[in-house]
């Protein structure tokens, strides 16, 4: 086995063993990782549609929120965890399939705009359907500390989303998505069934946020519309993907780790202007790093040494 594989596997092993360590602040530490995993999943799955296919889906968070709510409702209806989880994911993927055809008639800024509007629309609908969702009072499930299973499931979802991105990037579908990103009309002219490809891509990108949304509800026991549709949670994963390097296999992962840790370690300790610092970081990313962290020389070299990580989607 090569050194780099040993390295990756030891990282995974360390993450697997982490919850077994006895420590005062164990739950706190687990929760930090759980939210890191959440961000990684959102950023990485977002980039399936943006980085690989060139569509700016500002409504990616809808999949997460819908997963969170569907799960909460089904779980409260008495379904067992795995069943509620599975059904929630099915709802989300069905939703992605249903919105795909109308939304993908739009391109560029119009697509971004419509998907951005979708976030607000879904939020309002969630608020207004109080009988189902609890409205702005939120939705509770029976409270419990589930840090341990949540940690492992989230980690598994992270691994799955990375492996799936990798699979897609080497597949026929991935190539078709790339062609659509470069020039959709030409792609069609050369036989790419663009509508179907776009629908498939959107559905694939919806699976994991749907799943992690369900897990989120299971973990925090309480959700409300502002929490799951809020602008911060809607847009940070996108910023992470672009910061890390959109279009690169693990770019979004790098961006998520970097931005999340920076936020946790640095400016959450400030009393004021946390939002402004976050904003500043986002502005700087937009201005100076169209390629993202993963395309910086040093980082790219390191990834190249580990192998396949530097690959494009």
């Amino acid at each position: 086995m090569k050194t780099r594989h040993v390295l990756l596997l030891s990282l995974l092993a360390a993450l697997l063993l982490l919850p077994l360590v006895e420590a005062e602040a164990r739950i706190y530490i687990l929760q930090i990782f759980i939210f890191l995993f959440l961000n990684i999943v959102l950023a990485q799955s977002y980039d399936i549609v943006d980085g690989a296919m060139g569509y700016l889906n500002l409504g990616h968070i809808c999949f997460f929120a819908l997963g969170a709510y569907s799960f909460g409702i089904l779980y409260n209806a008495g379904l067992a965890f795995p069943l509620a989880l599975g059904l929630a994911v099915a709802v989300v993927v069905g939703f992605a399939g249903a919105i795909s055809y109308p939304f993908f008639r739009l391109r560029g800024a119009y697509f971004a705009l419509a998907t951005f509007g979708l976030v607000k629309l879904m939020e309002h609908i969630t608020i207004n359907l109080g009988w189902l969702t609890g409205g702005s009072n939120g939705l509770k499930i029976d409270p419990a500390d589930r840090s341990m299973p949540v940690y492992y499931i989230s980690l598994a979802v992270v691994v799955a989303v990375i492996l799936l991105s990798w699979r897609v990037s080497r597949s026929r579908l991935g190539l078709a998505m790339n062609a659509i990103r470069e020039d959709e009309e030409v792609a069609r002219d050369f036989g790419v069934p663009a509508s179907r490809v776009k629908a498939q891509a959107l559905m694939i990108s919806a699976v994991f946020p749907g799943m992690i949304g369900a897990v989120y509800t299971w973990n925090v026991n309480f959700i409300d519309p502002n929490q799951v549709y809020g602008l911060k949670i809607a847009l940070t994963p996108i910023a992470m993907a672009l910061l890390g390097g959109s279009g690169l296999l693990v770019g979004p992962v790098i961006g998520a780790v970097f931005l999340y840790l920076a936020e946790e370690l640095l400016w959450t300790h400030l009393a004021h202007l946390q939002g402004a610092i976050m904003g500043l970081v986002i502005v700087l990313v937009g201005l100076f790093m169209p390629g993202g962290l993963a395309r910086l020389k040093g980082v790219a070299g390191l990834l190249g040494w580990v192998g396949w990580l530097e690959e494009e989607r």
Binding site: R172, A176, N178, A179, V186, A187, R188, F190, G191, P193
Partner: protein, 245 residues
Amino acid sequence: MVPILSAQNVSKHFRGLEALSGVDFQVAEGSITSVIGPNGAGKTTLFNVIAGNQAPNGGQIRFRERVISGLAPNSICRLGIARTYQNVRPFLGLSVWNNVKVALLFGRREPLPSAREDAEIESVLEFAQLTAHPARKAETLTPLERKRLEIARALATDPEVMLLDEIVAGLSPAEALQMMETIRVLNGRGITILLIEHVMKAVMGLSSHIIVLHHGVKIAEGAPKDIARDQEVIRAYLGDAGEEG
């Protein structure tokens, strides 16, 4: 014999502008047929209508007996009609290899067994003289290489008909001769060629049949020597754009 490609009374207008009006033509299987006409005559529009990029406002396009107008471009490509663009449009961010691979995977009537894909891509690249750097992104190619990539991509779909939009234009005389030879070889492989060209030497040298468009109307057609003598063509076309040939 049924023509491989034909148009019946095809019209296309953009707001007030008649880009094509009542165009009829037939392309014989195995031929090299040229479409000529001054700038803005409607030649590219005709290609767009054939390839399914734009729906005609009236009339029909047939591929053999089958009416293809109204089909999506991806279906038309799979039927065996491949095109190139007047302004080349490679997938800039993809490698040369993947540019061809897209066409190979999605554009063919029958998918190739995956074991033969790589060999086929290689042979297409070799035909188009692009074997040097298959991993290079298309954005790094020279204009000549980009034209070759257009050919390679079209060829990878294993087409019966190739629509070549000004593929010779803009090349140096030596390159133009080479490109003409390429077209002849393609035709020799049994691919019917429909060619838009301003370069008269290429048109006259290659084609067995010529269709002349002017302001969206077909004003003449026939063998090259007849077209060269046709008074109306000379007035409409050779008068103002013919010198370059």
